[in-house]
Amino acid sequence: MTVDVALTKKDFTSDQEVRWCPGCGDYAILSAVQAFLPELAIPREDIVFISGIGCSSRFPYYVDTYGMHSIHGRAPAIASGLALSRPDLKVFVVTGDGDGLSIGGNHLLHALRRNVNITILLFNNRIYGLTKGQYSPTSEQGKITKSTPMGSLDNPFNPLSLVLGAEATFVARSIDSDRKHLTSVLREAATHQGSSFVEIYQNCNIFNDGAFDVLKDADTRDAATIRLEHGEPLQSATQSVIRAADGSLELVDGLRDDAVRHDAHAEDPSYAFGLSRLTTPTPIGVFRSVERPTYDRLMAEQLETARAAASDDADGMLGALLSGTDTWTVA
């Protein structure tokens, strides 16, 4: 999968008019993805974007690769079938907090535990956009929306805790407006062998505007985020994460020398899980990146083993199958 002629962002821009609301965070993500795809040096025809339903799921129409805008919540299942039958392709799934965590939660979890070779981008805006503003499974409790005039009662999901529990081998978080950070996370996610999951905080300026402002505003962002770099200390501008006496991660004030150094490759997921529970400040970057055999490779190996023992005579093999071992002849 290499290309002779270097591709550019323009090569990944389709001729379709982009129809998100002006000011939507999806534009920034689309632009970052289109600009980063040439770096993969994979021919356009070998890349596929598969989505479900929702604002984010219009994404495939705008990227000039193969693509499928499918049905609500089912993109991970469809992408799994494609990736398993075509291990030569690079398959992306684009989903949202409703599509991926509500109606399609089951498929997301199972794709991750199998470690199918797909890269899942979950745009989390903590609201339902396309159905016009109901609360989502990541909306904070008490959210006032059209369907919850007295406040939502549901306890929200923490998407990263959830996918870590589902045995995901690559888990990361980034922010729509931070082009440089988003690109670096996408790069690592796309080259990971197996399922990679990236939560992208995305602003819905119509129904949930400003949900992530504290992580974005120049005045607050440095104190509000912990930028995860493998081997670097876990610190915001003002706080550090240390090991408490009981072994858990503890947030303390000040930039301390005993801050825990980030280990994205820790086999034990409880470290990444502990990180995922930190909300203020919010860690962004790669939480976990470990190697585990991918489902598509294991499936391909079983097929190869079975075929190696089989004959080259296709009709002969089929004939033997159809006859079985217990035949009789009418002469």
């Binding site: 039958s85 079983q302 089929l318 002849t329 009418v330």
Partner: protein, 630 residues
């Protein structure tokens, strides 16, 4: 001339020649009745008899022992002539316990032979099934020829010193029963002995015990005074060739593998286990050497989703399920209609609604297959008519799916799935092929994913990995030609009609509906679909043998119907449609052709008996005033 293996032991007692026999083995779920039936079937098929089988078992794996709900039965009919059904009623009932007797007696006609395992007729076992008095002595069985055999005790006796404990030794009693029946009908024994050795290769003690029990049953028949004669059924005349016995689920699996191979497409099954379809998943999982990928998904929806994803990538996508699973897959089937990609949906129907009767047969998913989606969402529907025919029906479903870029329903049912019959094994090299005709080059003037073949109206199938043909498809309405999102009213109307016309046009590629009306004087036509073929044909053969005139036609294609269907139906005064539902085909026929069809409907979880169909048909014969009553 038919050749078949001879049993080495010449029977010592007189042999009576009979033409056809129906045997029903019945016992506890754990008694091994299905295995016993299958082995008897294999020996009988090998002898050259025509044969049809009907396994009839509960949904529970081991229902409480000795109870009526726990009874598992296996019925087969074999004959020296054509066999169309497993038989309405047994001539011979083998009842391994009181529960088996109690549950099967109502369908066992007076005069039949009953072999009882008399050891199980204890006071406690009788009470368990509500027999207040012993049916062996209270006159219940007066009109039957009863053979009381101490099957358990004789088995234990034969296995004394075998090294097996009592419990394990007792488990071989089904082999005793099989040995006895094999002697009674002069079945060869070598196949069964070989089978036992292979099955218990790792447990030589158990293998030896089963062989001993089988032989003890055989010897008991030979020496006991209870059985004065044995019987022989001569081979049936059948077309030349190599035969095997095959169940519907196996034939269907093989048909899909063969069709995929002949199309040059890798087969991808996405599935979730469900009775009575799971055996297809099991079979295909063992065929990786044919390049078959099987994916046991997290649910029914993911099963079909993965299959559709594989079709997008250029595989032949397949999902297998039963009615409740189809309900979950429905949205994805709609997506496949919109994407216009090949996809096979196998529905092995069972009793519904909801969980219904998982192990019992029904034909009540016809509406679900033909009509059960949102929007105008036409899907072709193909149905096999017998276990072996599942092979041809599967190949036909693949032909339609690949040629027309469409999801196709393959509607089998529990009766076909588990039933078996002899199959004239086709020559693999001469099976029909179908060309997937992938688009691989950028056409002049650009690539239009929703352009259409003028003959079939099929759209191009261009798979990821093909340079220059990158395109996006989805469930939103698409502009004719480009496939871009379109909300234009006129375009939607055009696309809805195009999809409908494409599926309707499949009728041009299927054979006309054939009518079997040898006298040409029938004024009643019996129209069927699916697994009712056998009982209907048997009933019609019976009526004709007594001089009656009645015509038969059977639909393989339920959507679209063959082009001549209306013409065929209108040529008869009365059209009778027997179905294992409350009249679904009747309503489709009435609505499509304005033909006043008469329904004959039962939903008992059981196939029709030919006798009840004879009554239904004869009620319409020679009665010019009969009008539809559906």
């Amino acid at each position: 001339m038919t050749t078949y293996p001879q049993s080495p032991d010449a029977p010592a007692k007189p042999v009576e020649i009979v033409s056809r026999v129906v045997i029903r083995f019945a016992g506890d779920s754990g008694d091994g009745m299905q295995l016993t039936g299958e082995r008897f079937t294999a020996e009988t098929a090998g002898l050259g008899n025509d044969i049809a089988t009907f396994p009839d078992f509960p949904a529970e794996i081991r229902a409480p022992a000795g109870t009526v709900p726990g009874v598992s039965a296996f019925q087969l009919q074999f004959a020296d002539t054509k066999v169309l059904t497993p038989g309405d009623h047994p001539d011979v009932l083998v009842a391994m316990n009181p529960a088996a007797l109690k549950s099967q007696l109502p369908i066992t006609p007076r005069g039949a032979t009953i072999v009882l395992n008399t050891d199980e007729f204890t006071r406690r076992n009788l009470a368990k099934v509500g027999y207040e008095r012993d049916p062996r002595s209270d006159g219940t069985l007066e009109s039957y020829q009863v053979h009381e055999v101490a099957i358990t005790a004789l088995t234990l006796g034969a296995l004394e010193g075998s090294g097996l404990g009592k419990k394990d030794a007792e488990r071989a009693k089904n082999m005793f029963a099989l040995g006895l029946m094999s002697w009674l009908y002069n079945r060869p024994r070598e196949g069964t002995l070989r089978f036992i050795d292979a099955k218990f290769a790792k447990k030589p003690l158990v293998a030896a015990a089963n062989v001993k029990a089988f032989e003890a049953g055989w010897s008991f028949g030979e020496t006991t005074e209870t059985f004065a004669v044995s019987y022989e059924v001569a081979p049936a005349p059948m077309p030349k060739g190599v035969y095997r016995n095959i169940t519907g689920n196996l034939a269907l699996s093989y048909g899909l593998v063969a069709a995929a191979q002949k199309a040059g497409l890798p087969l991808f099954l996405g599935s979730y286990p469900i009775t009575p379809a799971s055996d297809i998943l099991h079979t295909l999982a063992g065929l990786k050497r044919f390049g078959v990928r099987t994916f046991q998904a997290e649910d029914e929806i993911a099963g079909i989703g993965a299959a559709l994803g594989a079709s997008f990538g250029g595989s032949l996508g397949l999902t297998t399920t039963s009615g409740p699973g189809v309900a979950l897959k429905t949205e994805t089937i709609g997506l496949a209609v919109s994407l216009e990609l090949p996809l096979i949906i196998v529905d092995v129907q069972r009793g519904g609604p909801s969980t219904g009767l998982p192990t019992k047969t029904e034909q009540a998913d016809l509406f679900q297959a033909v009509l059960g989606r949102n929007g105008e969402s036409p899907v072709p529907v193909v149905a096999p008519q017998s276990p072996a025919d599942c092979f041809d029906a599967a190949m036909e479903a693949v032909r339609i799916a690949v040629t027309y870029r469409t999801p196709v329903f393959l509607l089998s049912d529990g009766y076909l799935a588990n039933g078996s019959e002899p199959w004239l094994v086709p020559d693999a090299a001469s099976l029909p092929t179908v060309d997937p005709a992938f688009t691989t080059e950028l056409p002049e003037g650009g690539f239009l994913p929703y352009s259409r073949d003028p003959e079939t109206l099929a759209r191009p199938w261009a798979v990821p990995g093909t340079p220059g043909l990158e395109h996006r498809i989805g469930g939103l309405e698409k502009a004719d030609g480009t496939g871009n999102i379109s909300y234009d009213p006129a375009n939607h109307d055009r696309m809805v009609r195009l999809r409908a016309a494409k599926v309707a046009g499949i009728a041009r590629s299927i054979p006309p509906l054939a009518v079997d009306d040898p006298s040409g004087e029938a004024d009643v036509l019996v129209l069927g679909w699916g697994s009712t073929y056998g009982p209907i044909a048997a009933a019609i053969a019976d009526i004709r043998s007594r001089g009656g005139n009645v015509a038969q036609a059977h639909l393989r294609h339920l959507a679209p119907f063959p082009a001549n269907t209306g013409e065929v139906l209108r040529a008869y005064r009365t059209v009778l449609i027997p179905e294992m539902n409350l009249g679904q085909l009747s309503l489709l026929i009435r609505g499509t052709f304005l033909v006043d069809a008469v329904g004959f409907n039962q939903v008992r979880g059981l196939p029709f008996t030919s006798a009840e169909l004879v009554d239904a048909i004869e009620g319409l014969l020679g009665n010019g005033t009969t009008e539809g009553s559906a």
